[in-house]
Point group: C2
Chain length 225, copies 2
């Protein structure tokens, strides 16, 4: 990572613009055979201050749709990274398929997260069926902002990702979202332009939603996560 | 419960029609001060074969909306009831506010539930904002059918419940739903007629969705629920 032109370039840009960057990368794992699917936080001074390695790998086989075995080439992470302090609040990092597991966001919520991020490349069929519903569900049940940047369109030749980058408020409302793929077959490589969502996050809304609907967990009956 | 005309009547009806009935009741708690919010399963012979006492009580205070303190009058349950065998599959019982806690459905899923039920009386504002999204989320993340019968309209004088009874498939699709309240102020007591949803549940869809997207939990990192 210390020699990647991509990462070094982003660190330079973050510093120049005085803006943090949260970006997903693949980096070599120990042993040289696999890579890590890593999410890094570059602060407004260009320093990498936190990194999360994806915990849940995406091995799916959808009849008539994509077959993907992330575990063939990716090494799974071993830890949940406690929420980090950022200019937009205490932020919990997850990646893509992690979204299907409530446990990880519940842990981050318990540790104080006010913002949950899920940068992703969902497939088109699972994107259409699950993406927005699961993200809104995580926002509602954790009473936190959810920010999910999402790859959109055809890439690496045969893969097509759903898109629909989204920002959701702690009451579950969609505050902003970008384009999504409706018909995977109609997508051509390079056929999409980047899109930018600009949203103000008011952390008072987090406290307000938690006050309105207090969620007293029954950890006498099920384990604390 | 053994002397309630309501419950005895339902047991009689279940037996007469050879149909199971899953119904929520309030019954006296020990000590006589509070009640239990209980969900019972009456089998097709009219016998009560299972009962679940609501675990998470609903204490909310919504500015400009409802203030409700269920814990003032209701005694909380102490256990999750393992899924029961029914003619429509292995069924996990929850009630209303339990919906906001992923833990309870995750436990039931781990114990083999194919169908999750959430009979409810959501408020109108939380119903509009959260009801369908959370239910669809539970169906998707547990890859199970979700059946949620929901009280609809004005009752007990000042309470208005959202409605929108719903049946959801294990891929997250809404298979059927009933009317919902859009404007609480326009609701008058007795202004709604009962509605019936009739849906065939194909349990193969549960297995299919679990096969398509295997959810390998990281219980080496977070506790098994």
């Amino acid at each position: 990572m210390t020699s990647s032109p991509f990462v070094l370039g982003l660190q330079h840009e973050a510093q120049t613009a005085s803006l943090p960057i949260n970006v997903g990368i693949h980096e070599p794992a120990e042993g040289g055979k696999k890579v890590k699917n890593t999410l890094i936080w570059i602060n407004e001074h260009g320093t990498i201050t936190s990194r999360y390695q994806k915990l849940h790998l995406f091995d799916v086989d959808i009849p008539g749709g994509p077959v993907l075995k992330e575990s063939n080439s990716v090494e799974a992470g071993k830890d949940i990274v406690p929420p980090i302090d950022t200019p937009i609040g205490k932020l919990g990092m997850m990646i893509c398929f992690d979204l299907r597991f409530p446990e990880i966001s519940l842990r981050l919520r318990r540790q104080g997260a006010q913002v949950l991020v899920y940068p992703s490349a969902f497939t088109v069929p699972t994107g259409k069926a699950h993406w927005e519903t699961l993200l809104r569900g995580r926002a509602i049940e954790n009473q936190a902002f959810v920010i999910a940047a999402a790859q959109c369109g055809r890439h690496n030749g045969k893969r097509v990702s759903y898109g629909a980058s989204i920002v959701i408020g702690p009451w579950g409302e969609v505050m902003a979202s970008s384009d999504r793929v409706e018909d995977a077959d109609a997508e051509r490589e390079g056929g999409r332009e980047p899109q930018l969502l600009i949203v103000d996050l008011d952390l008072d809304l987090v406290e307000e939603s938690r006050k309105k609907v207090p969620l007293l967990r029954r950890t006498d009956v099920y384990p604390e996560i």
